[in-house]
């Protein structure tokens, strides 16, 4: 591999980290090549001793994205971190994607339930409040198996319950995102030390 190719592979695979961090890193590698050549080593020798630039870039990306996710657990950071983790190998398909989808599913379900309960409560209250108006529409009958007052109170109760569920789910989601971030960090630490990891084009790296 030539120096030009090596550096280009790095640049192409690091375009998502902050530009100054990338430039810093590229500067280091270019300096490494310059000094190596001054010692009389060939570009090819230097490339071999540096290792696979794809793997280096992958490691830098995962490092960066996971650190970001732990710092600030927004959904987009977490998603990026999950994707970067998946890029680190087949191993992760089971141990990252699986639990992540499961957690996402539960949270989506809870959000939907909260919305449903809240809406049914609101509808109950509005239905009672606008009953005279609604019953003017042909064929519409607003009827409850309980009294008017009870209906309104139940409606308010449902709305309140739905909103509380929503608040609870919000905190669960935040907790879930931060838990995911920590799990990804844990997972990354484990796999970056595995030598039998079925990574694409895996090299024996420290």
């Amino acid at each position: 591999m030539t120096k030009k190719t090596f550096i280009e592979v790095l640049k192409k695979n690091l375009h998502m980290i902050p530009i100054e961090d990338m430039n810093d890193l590229i500067y280091d590698y270019e300096e490494h090549f310059t000094l190596g050549e001054a010692e009389g080593r060939t570009e090819d020798e230097i490339c071999k001793s540096l290792g696979n630039p794809y793997d280096i870039a992958k490691q830098v990306r995962a490092d960066y994205v996971i650190a970001e996710a732990v710092e600030e657990s927004t959904s987009s950071n977490i998603l990026r971190a999950v994707l970067a983790s998946l890029g680190l190998g087949l191993f992760n398909l089971i141990f990252v994607l699986g639990p992540f989808l499961g957690l996402a599913g539960v949270l989506i379900g809870l959000w939907a339930a909260s919305l449903g309960v809240t809406l049914s409560g609101i509808c109950l209250v509005l239905g009672m409040a606008f009953r005279p108006l609604l019953e003017l529409i042909p064929y519409v009958v607003v009827s409850m198996p309980f009294g008017n007052m009870a209906a309104i109170l139940i409606g308010i109760g449902f709305t309140a319950m739905g909103l509380l569920m929503g608040i609870g789910t919000y905190y669960l989601t935040k907790g879930g995102l931060s838990l995911t971030a920590r799990y990804l960090q844990f997972n990354y630490n484990i796999i970056s030390n595995r030598k039998d990891n079925p990574r694409k084009g895996a090299r024996d790296e420290n």
């Binding site: 500067y27 300096e31 490494h32 000094l35 830098v60 090299r203």
Partner: protein
């Protein structure tokens, strides 16, 4: 045994070298690869991370043979981390020696 430990060993080596003197990247890589077989390319991301975590800082120094060189310097926090890692290393080595000694009885 701590999984982080293996990564930490390389960290320990880098910090230990920088504790002795400031180095530029290539110098550091050479010193390390003299004693340990490593993929030299992984040292620079490691240095980058150490800098982000505040264990080392960098500065440029003029050089006679071309563009200014980027030197790495250990910080106070870096020294503390190095001491902690060194402690873990000694514990580990002693532990292994104990086990091996028992086995050969």
């Amino acid at each position: 045994m701590n999984i982080q430990f293996k990564k930490g060993v390389l960290e320990l080596c880098v910090l230990a070298i920088l504790d002795q003197k400031d180095c530029y990247g290539y110098e550091l890589v050479n010193e390390l690869s003299d004693s340990i077989a490593i993929s030299e390319g992984t040292i620079y991301p490691l240095l980058r991370r150490l800098k982000k975590e505040g264990f080392v800082t960098t500065y440029l120094r003029e050089s006679q043979e071309g563009p200014p060189r980027k030197y790495y310097q250990i910080t106070e926090v870096g020294k503390e981390t190095k001491d902690a890692l060194l402690g873990e290393w000694h514990k580990f080595v002693n532990g292994v020696n104990d086990v091996v000694a028992k086995e050969s009885e």
